[in-house]
Symmetry: D2
Subunit: 271 residues, 4 copies
């Protein structure tokens, strides 16, 4: 049979008996002990080395997104470790699977919204110019009957403490760009456009900051997941030391209210 | 390059433009509408068709194992649907990942223990013979300082209601074999050998029953997972109708007691 | 502190020392040995017992969807068993995680499309009436520049062998309803509306059939996943007997073509 | 009802409207822009801040473990992204689920083996003392008919290029301790004890190095998984740019050799 074998092109890495090549560099000689894990994560995904300023912002974002306490993902992770203690990879995976639209979506949703707005417009060069663009973006979103991503936070109702710090660090690092500029403008005009003061959500600022680093929008949830992987490992470490998952499980089980299902079919779905 | 292409042998299925073949049969003509889902699951994994009696026991086991209320797996599944409502496959997968040693292990552990005991012994042909083998198995387990799998249940302290029913159905179906016989004998002699009355755990009986169907021991946790997949789908359906996952999450978050970590390192791991 | 404890209502099941209740019935006395696994799956998710006709169609759908050979999901499942043989739950979960939009979406997408079309229209009572509704649905979809879900199949270019069988069984079982009627009409008018003959995709017919059973559209991918869980277990059983995953892995690794990444950034993303 | 509400102690983090506290520090003021992601991962799991030397070794290990080309985990991850492109968290989770005993076990297995050997022995203070302990460890392992973890590599048959670099960096950083000392001794005596020269596996050296940082042995696979999460994100980024997963899938499907299952049952399992 003369079917050609497929070839699988890659630029991540290769090995031979004496050398491990990673991203065009010698892993043992050029990378180990010379770059941080964060820098490698940047290179692996962006296809280029970060400048020191870009790396500082990237690290800042990952640090900001790593943990949020007893989130549904952390709880699911700890429950899975309780049930399958022999499989820490199962517990980490179960936690990451909660990294979906509801709690981990704001980083990518915000960046996508900003990027879509910026496409097809010249970049403003004054604050007023940014405000005009911001107003237009908010109004279009309202016309679609959709919320503006990245505005508001369930706990930090006045200001998300991460927001001013990340913006400052982006400026200091020379990476403050159009996504952050537009997001800040949205923050300025939102009270007037929406009738309420809504703080810029820190995870949304993270999305804008990553986009200003030139990182692909399609990958932004992945960075949030990488950050969260560290947070989950922290929860699993704590679960091994001072376990709570069994108490969580028993608290649900003990407070269950069982009632026979109705004979005429279930409550209709909330659509 | 003259490297041979690998070939991938399979006996599960194949398609051509007009026919789908599954396990040597025509899916559309021989299987659809002619066999149940349970029967297909048996065939897919056992490599043979079940007799009616074997199918009845197989269905009974899957029905017995499908759901156990608010288990850690059901809770993790519901929390994941809350966080990533767009990915029902993530929610099911997260639930299945809790199907590990702690809560889903008894079916396979029991079967393995029984199978290991039976190997290398002639099959007894009297109750007394079974009792002798059972005593030997219990004593060997105690000598290894290990528990006998399948004995006891946290809730059903007198008798697991599933146990007598499954044993009866196995007898009625002609599939009652050495694994069940040995497990029943273990139940008879355990009070004397262990000093306490411990009921035969229903999930353990399921393992014995599946082993008596000739199903591979290595696969038994997989059958429990298949059963649990149906249970999880039930929980997800209920979560969509009458959600509780957000309340579970908030109850944990609200009852968190944060304390700064000790400066001299964490509490040592419980080993 | 006088915060009320949350309660968690459920109609799935509960246990006490003597009884396991499942869906308002006694598991040991009413369900074990009396209903099949497929029937339990229906009850767990639909909140009601199926009629014999409904159960036959439900089983037929699950049998039709259980396996499709070496799909990306089956391959991922087998690769995961190779890497983590001690965790069959990880292998099953990894396989199910591929049950997303690209290969497992047609069942729910078709049902949703049909349901959306049926909403807000009186049910036609002649074939001509159905054809009119079908043409309208196709034209609306084309106006949105979207494909009509459920039409066409990469292998079965003339007719999907599952399609006529499932439609016949639905008629025989008395469950043939508006979703199937509309889908058949779409099949009739599609050559004229689209300029090409496209067969009704069997997985799409499954979606229409499940919708005609009154099962919730939001849950349809879940049924496909349950079916696929059985198929994956079959692949894992086969992998344990006659492994191929290591050959798959080595075939990819051996045919890798490594090239250093470009120094001016990666190839732009395909958006 | 006077059941006390459970409390859930944690030392990871907490929030109030103005402040996010993480590990006893103010996230926005003390951590963002001040510590790297790798340093946060260390703190989250170890419960203490790393010294600069410890952080350097930690980063080196994560960089060494992040990627190994087209591993089964990378392939599974890419196949899952192909099938469910809307769920990057599913693709990452599927990849991590392959992080089990077969390909990701050597790091923790080596550390555990070294730690078990060191427990119950005084720490030697000469190379000869280490060699004696190493010989004893190897002989005990052979008596148990088990392999010594961390010896040998399928590709790097003479020397794993990561090994000397990591050992040097550990010495430079002041973290070279008993685990590394014992592992190096094992490397010295292995040719004599085992009759073959086997290089110290780089992933095994990583385990020894992490153990010498005082990190919990139970968590070591977790660090390998965190590292691998970055590698998987790199593969997913590449898959989005220059996809190969569809070719991998088709290559398997096209080279499938279907044969009807034997009528007398399947090939017995390889045990």
């Amino acid at each position: 049979m003369s079917v050609e074998q497929p070839r699988y092109p890659t630029s991540i890495g290769t090995s031979d008996p004496d050398t491990i090549t990673l991203l065009g560099q010698n892993l043992a000689e050029d990378l180990m002990g010379r770059i941080s894990f964060g820098e490698l994560a940047f290179q692996l995904t962006a296809g280029r080395r970060p400048t020191p300023g870009q790396l500082r912002v990237f690290d800042t974002v990952l640090v900001a997104l790593a943990d949020h306490g007893f989130t549904p993902t952390a709880i699911a992770s700890r429950l899975t470790l309780l049930s399958a203690p022999e499989s820490i990879q199962g517990a980490m995976a179960a936690g990451l699977l909660g990294g979906g639209s509801r709690f981990l979506g704001v980083t990518e949703d915000t960046a996508k919204f900003l990027a879509d707005t910026l496409a097809g417009h010249d970049t403003p060069d004054t604050d007023e110019g940014w405000d005009v663009l911001a107003r237009e973006a908010i109004r279009q979103q309202r016309a679609r009957e959709q919320l503006v991503p990245g505005l508001g936070h369930p706990v930090h109702k006045q200001q998300d403490p991460r927001t001013p710090v990340l913006i400052r660090i982006a400026r200091e690092s020379g990476t403050h760009g159009p996504h952050l500029a537009l997001f800040e403008a949205i923050g300025r005009v939102a009270p007037d456009e929406l009738g309420r003061a809504l703080p810029l959500n820190g995870a949304g600022v993270c999305g804008a900051a990553l986009a200003d680093l030139g990182l692909p929008i399609e990958l932004l949830r992945g960075y949030a997941l990488l950050a969260r992987a560290a947070g989950l490992l922290g929860h699993l470490a704590e679960e091994m030391r001072t376990p709570i998952a069994h108490d969580i499980y028993r608290a649900v089980d003990r407070n269950a209210d069982y009632a026979d299902p109705p004979t005429d079919g279930p409550t209709p779905l909330t659509e």
